[in-house]
Symmetry: C2
Subunit: 280 residues, 2 copies
């Protein structure tokens, strides 16, 4: 993907701590940010001002990655756990700016960045997990975020219906076994504080299980692992990749890659979304 194609498109990465607004200028990422205000109205004003500044006038398109639960079709955010905003209609920013607006949840937007500019670039179908507090899941097809009927939630695939209770209400989702919050609930420690290889072998096994199900149900060209937990490196990935080899029989194992864009994935993805839109 030629980064010069993105000139004039602006991305917005909404986070609990800060709102980041960025664009690509001659292929270089330029970002402005401000502390996330407790109400949406002043945030909207700053987003509009920064988008105009970064685009040097009216942007060609605005892409927004936002925490959910979010209706990507309407761009409506009713509420979200970590920001006290209520009843946000992101597309109204486009009325003010005079440009199209495309909105999606932050896991999908970060996945879009990895699929187009990061670890999955050059591939047609890219799926992945974001391994954080929860386990986000994304599939990008032909440069567009795949949603299906509502939105995919592959971090909630069922591992054991008698397993631990998940935040979603079900029992035994992958997220209830292998997310940072599940690990902390089970061990009393953060993933960064655990150095027992046997423990990471177990987590690697659960994630390989989830990757196997991605392989047979979606069969992507590559699976990308993103999120804070990838910093555990070989402690996690060595057993994980061994289990991926062991579990995949009917189809060859998928290629598994580690995300490349780190904390910039959100803003890169929002810029890509600004240009690509949601496809058909």
């Amino acid at each position: 993907m030629d980064l010069s194609d993105f000139t004039g498109y602006v991305g917005v990465d909404i986070g609990g701590q800060s709102v980041r607004v960025g664009t690509l200028r001659d292929g270089e990422l330029v970002v402005r940010d401000f502390a996330t205000p407790s109400e949406y109205a002043p945030a909207a004003e700053q987003i509009v001002a920064l988008a105009r500044e970064l685009a040097g006038g009216t942007p060609r398109g605005l892409g927004i990655g936002s925490p959910g639960p979010l209706d990507w079709r309407t761009g409506h955010l009713l509420w979200t756990p970590n920001i006290p905003w209520k009843d946000v209609h992101y597309p109204r920013l486009g009325d003010t700016l005079g440009c199209p607006v495309h909105v999606d949840n932050d896991a999908n937007v970060a996945g879009l960045a990895e699929a187009t500019l990061g670890a999955g670039r050059g591939h047609q179908i890219v799926s992945g997990f974001t391994l954080g507090t929860g386990i986000g899941f994304f599939t990008i097809m032909g440069g567009h975020i795949y949603h299906g009927r509502l939105d995919v939630e592959g971090g909630h695939q069922l591992i054991d219906p008698n397993g631990p209770r998940c935040g979603c209400g079900a029992r035994g989702c992958l997220e209830a076994f292998a997310s940072a919050s599940a690990i902390e609930a089970r061990t009393g420690k953060k993933p960064s504080e655990i150095d027992d290889p046997e423990f990471w072998k177990e987590i690697g096994r659960y994630l390989a299980w989830g990757i196997t199900n991605i392989n047979v149900l979606v069969c992507p060209d590559v699976v990308v692992l993103a999120g804070g937990m990838i910093q555990r490196g070989p402690m996690l990935f060595t057993p994980l990749l061994e289990y991926v080899q062991q579990f995949n029989c009917v189809l060859p194992p998928p290629t598994v890659k580690v995300a490349e864009l780190g904390h910039q994935a959100g803003i890169y993805g929002a810029i890509v979304l600004a240009r690509q839109g949601h496809g058909t």
Copy 2:
């Protein structure tokens, strides 16, 4: 879908017992068949003759549903378990007939029929299982068979890595728990001979587990269940649908429907494939 759009397209359904060649005339299915010969060459001759007869000349397109393992991109069948044909190149039929040829495996082709003309008609994304000797899986998107990198094999999603050995070599695939052959291996009886409600509750639970993973990983508009085992009716579906309700939390449960086209799905799907091709 308007059935008159299919005039002139011919479908071929390759089976272990018979080869069926069909078309739609004024929306009515017209089928000719012959016993599957032990070699491919005489079958090819008959397919060509029947296709010309049914199309009233050169067909506008030929669609073929064949047992696999099959490379749908090249239409090359190296071998297949239940027919002694070797090294079949189906697209050569098109050279003889002078029309495009599209080939896919029989589960995908039957799924295409259900998605476009059967239980899934009117929906954009239709996934399903074919519950037979094995557990086939298909996803149809916008009227085209979805393959991903190779082809999807959702009947081999992982239920329990310590579970029974599957025909694919892995342990604990869905197919190793809930296919007709797995049931027969475990109980010594065919599914049609088992009337214990507790047994069918267990099978319904495994299939609901698989449907839950379809829902979170693919999120189709509807899930269609096909194949011989659907004849067990409420004995299977009542507990299955209860478990689908119980297991799906993060997303609403998917709509589950029973296949409508029965043993005609293969020939209908081949005709649809003849017209639609594989898309992009």
